[in-house]
Amino acid sequence: MKVQQISVFLENKSGRLAEVASILADADVNIRALALADTSDFGVLRLIVNDTVKAEKVLKSRGFSVGKTDVVAAEVEDRPGGLYKILSLLGRSGLNVEYMYAFVQQSQKNAVMIFRFDNIDEAVKLLLHNGVKVLSGQELYAL
């Protein structure tokens, strides 16, 4: 019930993001979701791709620092209050969301959000227990 995310360290200068995109394009890797967190000096690019192993390999070979993290992809009802429902659930249980971002594609009628937790196992358990659909890697890449 976990999805692998890769993250890449980028200096805040022009062309770095394009460089990553171009390396992945050349390797025929499709970016399915992406979020960039940045400070004035550097950024951390987080990616969900269709081939994590290959993406990690090509980026490392080009000298990037690459990390791998397990994240959770959960369906969120695509209507007012959909996200709140999940966040309040997590909040009540004291589970902290490190960061989150949206997946591009919908799963049937629902939006898909990517969540990064410190305590991922407990988070997955809680979501499933409360009837939230959590997508596996296979399901996610197939969207």
Binding site: Q5, S7, F9, L10, E11, R16, A37, D38, T39, D41, F42, V44, R46, G63, F64, S65, V66, G67, T69, E98, Y99, R116
Partner: protein, 433 residues
């Protein structure tokens, strides 16, 4: 192994009388043959004959790099050119290069000292020496080369550069001894890793690294990554090249100065006053056996101290501590003296940080700003921004706590800091003062 038992383990009393004899002869020769030295003696109102003890040496005037420049190129040579068989020069990054010459006997003596040095680091006849010091005007390459041959080892004169080929050679020729700069040693480790070659599978047992200052933490890093025993070797072309002093692999605690050829002194760089053993100051050398290019009280600008305690290796030669900096690369940041090697030590205290860093000094609004660039390697990287910022703050705090200077810390991408094949570019000073 001790290569020259007689000279390296000589009782101090015998060594000092040998030194005095050699010093007197060397001063006489320099006085007779080099107009510059004769003039300096005359200006000071002394003659070589007045040097009757080693303690009298402190009455002799110093020689500086500027003096060598003023006599560019061959003005300091003490023999006719037809006796000079080799010429080396130091890179002239801050002016004209410094040119040095050697007679056949100087070359022979230098080879002996380098054989001693390699042996002190753990090499023996029968070893294969991968010599990645640069060959050419720089004394490192040929110095180590002649020493390895003198020792009876097999030398691979691979020189600097072409790192990928070096890794292949290390795999196929199975060298057992590595000689290069410490920063290039780490560069080799990095290149090998990229090529899928592990140093654990190579055959190195020891490395003799020098030509740039490096910290104790960097030694640990090198020993861990290259799976060998690392010792520091010291030298400068003005004195002879590498092989002025070297650490023994038994103690790795200070570099034994080959005092039967060079007399070391520590002085206060501001007043020129001689300092006793144990005190830190500028290192000064007088050569006592060199023919072509004798140096008298040459100011190295290197900061260290001398240690006369007996060593477990059996050598009676005095030890100089690792050079902690130079009087001329000392950065003054808002009035605080900072040596790049100190910052390196601080960085290496933080285990996520690899020794790939660069100091950039700027002047913004008339204030010095020190920026420490640190590469984000696998160990340091995190997908969480706050974790990266926390490391930035930790480095900043360490530098402030240990050195009393505020620094900006900038995390940069791996391999974005210039790696030279020889010396690492550690400091960029953009201040116009």
């Amino acid at each position: 192994m001790i290569y020259d038992i007689r000279h390296e383990t000589m009782p101090r009393e015998d060594l000092e009388s040998l030194q005095l004899r050699r010093l007197q002869a060397s001063l006489e020769r320099a006085y007779a043959m080099v107009p510059f030295y004769r003039k300096r003696f005359q200006e000071a109102g002394i003659t070589p004959g007045q040097i009757r003890s080693l303690a009298d040496l402190k009455n002799v005037p110093f020689t500086t790099k500027q003096d060598l420049r003023d006599n560019y190129p061959f003005g300091m040579f003490a023999v006719p050119m037809d006796m000079v068989v080799r010429i080396h020069a130091s890179s002239g990054t801050t002016g004209k290069p410094t040119v040095v010459g050697y007679t056949a006997r100087d070359i022979e003596m230098w080879a002996e000292l380098m054989a001693r040095s390699l042996a002190a680091g753990g090499a023996n006849r029968g070893d294969i020496v991968h010599n990645a010091y640069g060959y050419g005007l720089f004394t490192g390459g040929l110095g180590a080369h002649y020493g390895a041959e003198k020792l009876g080892a097999s030398v691979i004169p691979v020189s600097g550069g072409n790192t990928k080929r070096q890794v292949l050679i290390m795999k196929d020729f199975k060298p057992t001894i590595l000689t290069c700069t410490p920063s290039y040693a780490l560069h080799l480790a990095e290149a090998a890793e990229e090529m899928g070659v592990s140093f654990a599978d190579l055959h190195f047992k020891a490395g003799i690294f020098g030509a740039e200052p490096w910290s104790e933490n960097m030694r640990e890093e090198i020993e861990r990554k290259l799976h060998l025993s690392a010792v520091d070797i010291y030298g400068l072309s003005e004195v002879i090249g590498p092989g002025v002093s070297v650490e023994c692999h038994q103690a790795k605690k200070g570099l034994h100065v080959f005092e039967d050829h060079f007399i070391p002194e520590i002085i206060d760089p501001n007043t020129g006053k001689s300092l006793p053993y144990g005190e830190t100051g500028e290192l000064v050398f007088t050569s006592i056996t060199k023919e072509a290019f004798p140096v008298i009280r040459y100011r190295t600008r290197d900061i260290t101290s001398l240690n006369c305690e007996p060593c477990i290796c059996g050598r009676t030669l005095v030890r100089m501590n690792k050079v902690s900096g130079r009087t001329d690369d000392m950065l003054i940041i808002r009035g605080v003296n900072v040596f790049p090697s100190q910052i390196e030590s601080v960085l290496m205290e933080i285990h996520e940080v690899e020794p790939h860093y660069q100091l950039v000094v700027d002047r913004e609004d008339n204030l010095d700003v020190l920026t420490v660039k640190v590469e984000v390697g696998e160990k340091l990287f995190s997908d969480k921004v706050k974790k990266l910022q926390e490391i930035e703050r930790r480095i900043q705090k360490h530098i402030k706590d240990y050195l009393g200077v505020s620094a900006k810390v900038k995390l940069v991408e791996p391999k974005s800091i210039q790696r030279s094949e020889g010396k690492a570019v550690r400091v960029i000073d953009n201040r116009k003062i």
